[in-house]
C-alpha cells in the first residue's frame, strides 16, 4: 500500500561550530499516494536533509512529517521505508542476492514470506545471472540496480531516492532513469527523488518541488502533466521544454539580472 507524504511547516536547525544554522525554513510539501515527486535545488539547499527527515534519519527541529497518517519513525520500525543512497552502499562481503535479502534478514522474515521475492527483484532490475557476484565485481550502475532491488524487497510504502544516479555517466543515467520509472510503475509505491538535474526532475516526476538555499525552503511546486509511460522522445517536445523552463525560472527567481553572467558562478 503506497502512502502519501506530507511535510508540514518543517524547520531544521543544526549547531555547527557553536553557531545555529537554519538549514530548512518552514518547508511545506504534499505528495499523493502512488505519485512520483522530485525535489530539485542547488547544492547545500537542504534537499538531502529533507529526504533524510522523511526517512527518520533526523528529526525536524519544529513542524511535522506525516506519511500515510503516521510519523516516519513508525514507518521505519515497520520496515516500510525504502531508501536508495547516492552511493550504492552495498555490503561488499555479501553477494548481490544476499544484499537484496538484507532487509528481510533484519526484519526477521523468512524468504518464503518475503513481500517481494529477492530473485524476482533481481530480474526486475536487470541483474539476472549476477545473483552470486560480489558488489566489487559489478560496475557502479549495476551496484545501484542492486541497491534499488534491496530498497523494494519489503514492498515499501514510500521509496526515497537521494540522487541515486548522480555519480554515473549521462548515458547510463538516462537508461537507468527510464528503467527506474518502469520499476516504480510496476511497484505502485510513492516515490520521492532528490536531484539537481532539471531535465531529470521533469522527466521522472508528477510534481517537482523547487528549493532555494540559505535557508532551504520550497520556492514553488510545479505539476508535470506529461502522460505516462514516459519515453526519452518526450524530452524533445514543446510541453517538456515549457515545464523545464518553468522549473529553471523558479530556480533562478532570486538571482539579480547580472548574477547569471558574473557573480553567480558559485550558484549554478
Amino acid at each position: 500500500m503506497p502512502a502519501s507524504i506530507a511535510v508540514l511547516d518543517v524547520i531544521k536547525r543544526f549547531r555547527m561550530r557553536g553557531t545555529d544554522v537554519l538549514a530548512l525554513d518552514h518547508v511545506r510539501l504534499k505528495l499523493d499516494a502512488g505519485c512520483f515527486g522530485a525535489i530539485i535545488g542547488p547544492s547545500g539547499c537542504g534537499k538531502s536533509t529533507l529526504l533524510r527527515m522523511v526517512a527518520d534519519l533526523f528529526e525536524p527541529t519544529d513542524g511535522r512529517i506525516d506519511i500515510g497518517g503516521a510519523p516516519p519513525s513508525r514507518l521505519r520500525r515497520e520496515h516500510a521505508i525504502g531508501f536508495v543512497f547516492q552511493s550504492p552502499t552495498l555490503l561488499p562481503w555479501r553477494t548481490v542476492i544476499d544484499n537484496v535479502r538484507l532487509p528481510l534478514r533484519i526484519a526477521g522474515i523468512a524468504e518464503a514470506d518475503a513481500p517481494r521475492k529477492p530473485a524476482d527483484l533481481i530480474g526486475l532490475v536487470g541483474l539476472k545471472g549476477f545473483e552470486n557476484a560480489l558488489p566489487g565485481q559489478l560496475s557502479g550502475g549495476m551496484q545501484q540496480r542492486a541497491a534499488i532491488a534491496r530498497a523494494l524487497v519489503m514492498n515499501p510504502q514510500v521509496l526515497l531516492l537521494d540522487e541515486p544516479f548522480g555519480a554515473l555517466d549521462e548515458i547510463t543515467r538516462q537508461r537507468l532513469n527510464t528503467e527506474l520509472l518502469r520499476i516504480w510503475a510496476e511497484s505502485g509505491t510513492t516515490a520521492l527523488l532528490v536531484t539537481h538535474s532539471i531535465a531529470e526532475a521533469v522527466f521522472m516526476a508528477d510534481r517537482v518541488f523547487v528549493m532555494s538555499p540559505r535557508p532551504g525552503r520550497i520556492e514553488t511546486t510545479i505539476e508535470v502533466d506529461l502522460p505516462r509511460p514516459r519515453s526519452l522522445g518526450m524530452m524533445n517536445t514543446t510541453a517538456f521544454h515549457a515545464i523545464e523552463g518553468a522549473v529553471r525560472e523558479a530556480l533562478f527567481a532570486h538571482e539579480s539580472p547580472d548574477a547569471a553572467t558574473s557573480g553567480g558562478a558559485d550558484r549554478p
Binding site: 534519519l57 560480489l134 565485481q137 549495476m142
Partner: protein, 253 residues
C-alpha cells in the same frame, strides 16, 4: 599457467642461492663464521631431540602470547568503541605499552614472575598487543557512514548492526594488525628466553654463541625467521579464507 612461474620462481631462486652458499663455503670463500646449508641441516637431523627442545617450546609460548594479545586487544577495542570516553585512554595506554623497551623490562619481569611459561607468554603478548589493538580500533570504525544510515532506515537492532555491519567491515584492518603482530610475538618469546629459560630457540642461541658452535647459531637464526614467517603465513591464510571480498575483480555492464 600464469600461476606456475609465480610459485616456482622463489623456490628455484632459494635452491640456487643455497647451492651457491654451499659451494662458496666448501671452497673456502666464506669465513668460518658462516655455516654451510648442509651443516645447518645436520644440526637438525643429527640431534633428534633438538627440534622438540627448541622450536616447539618457542612456538608454544609465542602462539599462547599471540592469542592472549589478540583477545585482550579486541576486548579493549570493543570497550573503546562502545564507550566513547574510553577511546583515547585505551589508545594512549596501548602506545605507552608499546613504547616500553622490552629488552629492558624483560629481565625485570623474569625476576618478578620467574622464568616459567607465563613470563614468556606475557612478554610475547606485550610485544604483539599494540598492532592488533590499532587494527581492531580502526577496524571497528571502518564501515561507511551511509551503511550506518542504511541500518538505521532498516531498523536494525544494535546486535544486528554489530554482527552484520561492524564486525565484517572490521576484518580487513583487524587482519592487517594480526599479520603485523605475528612476528613480534616470536621475537618477544625469544627475548624472554634470552633472559632465562630452560628450553627454546633463545636458549639455544645463547648456548651456541657461548660455545662458538657456528652451525647451531645459524640453525637458531634460520629457525626463528621461519617461525616468524610461519605465524605470519598462518594469519594470512586465515585472512584469505575469511576476507574473500577484497580480491574481487571488476566486471563491466
Amino acid at each position: 599457467m600464469k600461476r606456475l612461474p609465480a610459485f616456482w620462481l622463489p623456490v628455484v631462486t632459494t635452491l640456487a642461492l643455497l647451492l651457491i652458499a654451499e659451494g662458496a663455503q666448501r671452497s673456502g670463500l666464506f669465513p668460518i663464521t658462516v655455516a654451510a646449508p648442509s651443516q645447518v641441516w645436520q644440526v637438525l637431523t643429527g640431534n633428534p631431540r633438538l627440534f622438540g627442545e627448541t622450536v616447539v617450546p618457542t612456538l608454544q609460548a609465542a602462539m599462547l602470547g599471540y592469542l592472549c594479545a589478540a583477545v585482550a586487544a579486541v576486548a579493549a577495542a570493543s570497550v573503546a568503541t562502545l564507550v566513547a570516553a574510553t577511546w583515547t585512554p585505551i589508545y594512549r595506554f596501548g602506545v605507552a605499552l608499546s613504547s616500553i623497551p622490552l629488552t629492558a623490562t624483560t629481565p625485570l619481569l623474569v625476576v618478578w614472575i620467574g622464568n616459567g611459561l607465563s613470563t614468556r607468554v606475557l612478554i610475547a603478548a606485550l610485544a604483539s598487543y599494540f598492532p592488533i589493538l590499532v587494527g581492531a580500533m580502526q577496524g571497528f570504525r571502518a564501515f561507511e557512514s551511509t551503511s550506518a544510515e542504511l541500518f538505521h532506515v532498516l531498523s536494525a537492532s544494535p546486535l544486528q548492526r554489530l554482527r552484520l555491519l561492524v564486525l565484517p567491515a572490521s576484518l580487513p584492518l583487524l587482519f592487517a594488525g594480526l599479520k603485523i603482530a605475528a612476528p613480534s610475538a616470536v621475537l618477544g618469546t625469544i627475548l624472554a628466553e634470552w633472559a632465562g629459560a630452560e628450553r627454546g630457540l633463545g636458549v639455544l642461541m645463547i648456548y651456541a654463541l657461548g660455545a662458538f658452535d657456528v652451525p647451531k647459531v645459524w640453525f637458531a637464526v634460520i629457525a626463528s625467521c621461519a617461525l616468524a614467517a610461519g605465524v605470519y603465513a598462518l594469519a594470512a591464510a586465515i585472512e584469505m579464507r575469511v576476507v574473500r571480498w577484497q580480491a574481487a575483480t571488476v566486471l563491466e555492464d
